[in-house]
């Protein structure tokens, strides 16, 4: 598949606020079910093992007018729950047979309560994850949570989810993570060849396409991107962080690159990059998923860091590994996790002499000039005045 075709396909999926793909997928087989999930992390392997399609629900973006959604939340709450409610009450999520709300923040937890009230006939689950990283404490708790989810999905699907089903799904998601890792490694090595808006669209496509199809799409994209010659710009290399829940408008990502920054790492669609190594496909699959979460998952604002001195280490390692020259904190307005974490992360960066800049956005931000100016002057300061 040609590069343009791949990007166009991803763009079409991104633009489709009616989720027509879910209807097509369900129509292709009898009894098929789709389960929506909010950011930041749910174990999609279990949904897949149940024969269901996991669908990332990431708000309404900048193309959706929120008319009803504002009635559900106060003005000092971020926009993603409003637009998600808007999607639901306007019937756009009717094809979903259930919805999972991870323990991202209080707002998302409250959204799960609203869902239970609004859609009593659907499976609605507030999916808790451990904040204790002792295998005998958090691990045991989390394995039970995974088992509960397995039981609920089995009941909804009308069939048992066997260990072999789970192992097969784990293997497919392992492949998907490896493909994504290859994509990110390629962008980090040659950022001029892999524009970040394209990476974003590819990652978004993975929120609705079946995992094996998404894996193929990424491999096709990498091959196609390597076959074209794109101009190399004198841009600085940055890590962007804070975009893990409410989504940035595509224009924001384009603006950052236009402003003279090559993004070499990010925290888009963390659900697809959450586990940092392959999950074993032998042994107890739920325990393997639980152990992976406890022992080798990403650090993000929604996850507790038990040792104070470790706060920011993950970000600093990303900066070093990707030879980034600075960090851009792009946080959604009123995002408690991102904005409360930011001072701690900035302190850690300062201690390491890593420059940063910070701004806020909403999923429907339309005016990009201030962001271009800020990212651009940040890029200038790195290019002209850094010691490197």
């Amino acid at each position: 598949m040609a590069l343009d075709e791949i990007v166009e396909r991803c763009q079409d999926l991104y633009d489709d606020l009616d989720f027509k793909y879910i209807k097509q997928w369900k129509a292709a087989g009898s009894g098929r079910k789709a389960i929506g999930h909010m950011p930041v992390y749910v174990p999609r392997e279990i949904v897949h093992a149940a024969g269901m399609l996991p669908v990332g629900i990431l708000g309404g973006g900048d193309q959706l007018d929120v008319i009803h959604g504002d009635a559900y939340y106060q003005s000092y709450i971020c926009r993603i729950p409003r637009s998600t409610i808007e999607l639901a009450v306007t019937g756009r999520l009717d094809e979903l047979d259930g919805m999972l709300f991870p323990s991202t923040c209080d707002v998302i937890r409250n959204l799960s309560g609203m869902w239970q009230l609004k859609f009593p006939d659907k499976l609605v689950r507030y999916f808790d994850v451990p904040q204790n990283f002792d295998l005998d404490v958090g691990g045991v708790f989390y394995t039970r949570e995974l088992q509960l989810l397995r039981d609920q999905l089995a009941e909804l699907g009308g069939r048992e989810i066997t260990d072999d089903d789970l192992r097969a799904s784990i293997a497919l998601y392992n492949e998907n993570r490896r493909a994504i890792e290859a994509l990110y490694a390629y962008r980090s090595a040659q950022p001029g060849q892999v524009p970040t808006p394209e990476v974003y669209l590819l990652m978004r496509a993975g929120m609705i396409l079946p995992v094996d199809e998404h894996t193929r799409l990424i491999h096709d994209y990498i091959a196609a991107a390597k076959a074209v010659k794109r101009p190399v710009r004198d841009n600085c290399r940055v890590v962007v962080t804070g975009l893990f829940c409410e989504q940035p408008p595509l224009g924001l990502l384009k603006s950052i690159e236009m402003a003279g920054c090559y993004v070499v790492d990010d925290d888009f669609m963390l659900v697809a990059r959450w586990l940092l190594e392959d999950v074993p496909t032998e042994g107890d699959p739920l325990k393997n998923l639980s152990d992976a979460f406890i022992t080798y998952s990403v650090e993000t604002s929604c996850k507790y860091v038990p040792v104070r001195e470790d706060k920011g280490k993950f970000l600093i390692e990303s900066v070093r590994r990707n030879r980034a020259e600075g960090v851009i904190f792009a946080s959604p307005s009123f995002c408690d996790p991102a904005l409360l974490d930011r001072p701690m992360l900035q302190k850690a960066l300062t201690a390491q002499g890593i420059p940063y800049t910070a701004f806020k956005y909403a999923e429907n931000s339309g005016q990009m000039q201030p962001i271009r100016e800020q990212a651009g002057t940040f890029a200038d300061s790195i290019k002209l005045w850094s010691a490197a």
Binding site: R233, D234, N235, A259, T377, K383
Partner: protein
């Protein structure tokens, strides 16, 4: 020898320059400026760049760095882009070494920038969304009055009783002007009132960046409007600043100049990183390239304000500072 082009894609005009930076010597080789007048600015940028290359019979491959500024992020053949504050500060220190501030008055924005000798931006303030401190606003007013933009400054200086115009809002100011015309106020007094309103906003910007003394160079398209310069000098006195407002015949090129000089700097820096070439050896590394001998001709825009215009510098001391700093890795 480093050949660097700078292209400043403004709201009202596209400016392009070409520089040769060798051993701390900075030679301005060529320039081009074109008013946009509803044409495609990206096409004009390409044409302007090609024109300066054609004028020197220069192969584009020989240009080491094409730097854009202003709204030039979409120029496809750019090597890198620098933001307007960065480039105007650098360009202004090239045109007038020793300044402490720059006032860039373009078609869309007015901004005050505090700078040091190296052209480093220390702080800056821009006019807000309102256009009443911008060149586009003045152009609109000139059109209402049936005056060519080039005549505005001269006419403004003949005012004997300037009218007060809103300095807060362009819409209100334009309404003021329509009322003045119907009341029979002279064109000179209206224009002077407009200049005072604009100057008042711009000098407040200077105050906000704490530029209370030293020299401030005007850059951008309105930098050669002598009526505005005079009004600014009056406003500086009225607002009790000790800043000397100066202009330069080539002020309109400040952004493009800054872009080209920063482009040359980046080219050298990237060579150092890529090849481990110490900065002092960069020109030996590049010695294979033939030297250019160029006559700039007489293309400069004449600034009638000879009392405040400084002669064009052929070398940029600020750049020498940068080069010595880069050797110490302090840039």
């Amino acid at each position: 020898m480093t050949l660097a082009a700078g292209i400043d894609l403004g709201t009202g005009a596209v400016k392009a320059v070409l520089f040769d930076v060798s051993d701390g010597e900075t030679k301005w080789l060529a320039r081009s400026t074109e008013r946009i007048r509803r044409r495609d600015p990206l096409v004009l940028a390409k044409q302007g760049y090609e024109r300066i290359l054609a004028g020197l019979d220069l192969d584009p491959e020989l240009v080491d760095y094409v730097a854009t500024t202003g709204d030039g992020e979409n120029i496809s053949f750019r090597t890198g882009h620098f933001y307007s504050m960065t480039t105007h500060a650098k360009g202004a220190t090239y045109l007038r070494p020793g300044i402490s501030a720059v006032i860039d008055i373009g078609a869309l924005h007015g901004r005050a920038i505090a700078t040091d000798d190296r052209g480093k931006v220390l702080t800056y303030k821009m006019t807000s969304q309102c256009a009443s401190g911008s060149g586009q606003f003045l152009e609109n007013i000139a059109r209402y009055l049936g005056v060519a933009l080039e005549e505005v400054g001269e006419i403004s200086k003949t005012a004997d009783n300037p009218e007060t115009v809103s300095s807060i809002c362009a819409v209100l100011a334009e309404t003021d002007v329509i009322n003045m015309i119907s009341r029979g106020i002279s064109t000179a007094n209206i224009l002077k009132g407009i200049h005072i309103a604009m100057a008042s906003r711009l000098v407040k910007l200077l105050k906000s960046i704490k530029a209370r003394e030293g020299i401030a160079l005007l850059t951008g398209g309105l930098a050669v409007d002598e009526g505005l310069i005079e009004a600014m000098q009056e406003q500086v006195v009225e607002q009790k600043l000790k800043v000397k407002i100066v202009s330069h015949p080539d002020s309109i090129y400040a952004g493009a100049i800054g872009a080209a000089l920063w482009g040359a700097f980046r080219h050298d820096k990237l060579l150092q990183v890529e090849h481990g070439v110490p900065s002092k050896d960069l020109h030996e590394y590049d010695a294979a390239r033939p030297a250019l001998a160029v006559d700039m001709g007489e293309e400069s825009v004449a600034c009638p304000l000879t009392s405040v215009v400084e002669p064009q510098s052929s070398t940029c001391p600020a750049d020498q500072v940068l080069r010595s700093d880069s050797a110490d890795k302090k840039t």
